[in-house]
């Protein structure tokens, strides 16, 4: 009887010890789109662009291209 209990305890202990050996992916689970805060407006929504996205895009692109000094000096 004691032997059976000891065997059972041994098997249970082994199963318990191996329970932590499972290999699980350690990748972060991203939670996109669960923002809980206040809504924001796009940068072109207010003055001076007043919702004119194309004008804002042009302004940003001009400044963006101005960072290329090869073209800036060449002009």
């Amino acid at each position: 009887m004691m032997g059976a209990v000891a065997r059972f305890a041994l098997v249970a202990l082994g199963a318990f010890a191996l329970a932590a050996c499972g290999e699980r992916p350690q990748v972060i689970n991203y939670k996109q789109g669960k923002y809980q805060g206040k809504p924001d407006t796009p940068p072109f929504a207010s003055a001076p662009y007043n919702g004119n996205e194309q004008q804002w895009d042009t302004a940003i692109r001009t400044r963006n291209l101005a960072q290329n000094e090869y073209k800036r000096i060449g002009d």
Binding site: K38, P39, D40, Y49, I60, R63, N64, Q67
Partner: protein, 220 residues
């Protein structure tokens, strides 16, 4: 729609800290908070490289994933911002960020942390654009003024570029062609690597095979 990114060309950075100063001045950042900083690798050793580091506004931002109160959001331009009214200053984002971008002002005795502060790509936050409240919480909203981040526009050697990723890639590609070698685009693979690629996406304008390595180049 532009996808805003930063690009730091380690071949050009001269560690002048102009970007750090520009950022501090533009947003009136308090003492102890550094939204941007310059890191030098192998300082004093021939071939040392300096890199300007701030929030890279990652494609899959880890800070967004770990935030327990979901205070982060990504704008249509790809800028990662957060709502300070929600932030509880837990610091999880700091541990998750590969660039050490989140900063925490000391809010009291015994090292009590305040609400997280980080680079906003000069895009403010979820308050009315260019309002006094927005400036106080997040700094100036240059993007709403049709301008690019102050750090990038201030950079004297144009080592730090900021703006639409496609345009930055074009600029860098031309540089590689002119100088004949690639150098390092530090942090690009980490910040903008394709999901699931393990950050193995090559940097824009990577040197073609057979291009000589930069003389005295260092790897951290």
């Amino acid at each position: 729609m532009a996808r805003m990114k930063f690009l730091c060309d380690a071949e050009r950075c001269i560690e002048c800290n102009g970007c750090v100063t520009a950022c501090k001045q533009e947003h009136e950042i308090p003492w102890g908070v550094n939204r941007r900083r310059v890191v030098t690798i192998n300082d004093g050793v021939p071939g040392e490289r300096s890199i300007s580091v701030a929030c890279m506004h990652c494609s899959d931002a880890p800070c967004m994933a770990v935030c327990p109160v979901d205070c982060f959001y990504k704008t249509g331009e790809g800028v990662v911002l957060h709502d300070k009214d929600l932030c509880i200053g837990c610091g999880y984002c700091f541990y998750a960020c590969p660039f050490g971008a989140p900063q925490f002002p000391q809010a009291g005795a015994f090292g009590v942390r305040g609400k997280m502060d980080k680079c906003t790509f000069c895009a403010g936050g979820p308050e009315a654009d260019m309002s006094a409240v927005e400036f106080q919480k997040y700094g100036r909203n240059r993007l709403a003024e049709g301008k690019l981040p102050a750090c990038a526009e201030m950079c004297s050697t144009k080592a730090l570029l900021g703006g639409d990723g496609d345009v930055l890639a074009d600029i860098y590609r031309q540089r590689v062609t002119v100088r004949g070698r690639s150098g390092e685009v530090w942090g690009w693979a980490t910040a903008y690597g394709a999901p699931g690629s393990g950050g193995q996406q090559p940097p824009p304008g990577a040197a073609p095979a057979g291009t000589p390595a930069p003389a005295g180049g260092t790897k951290s």
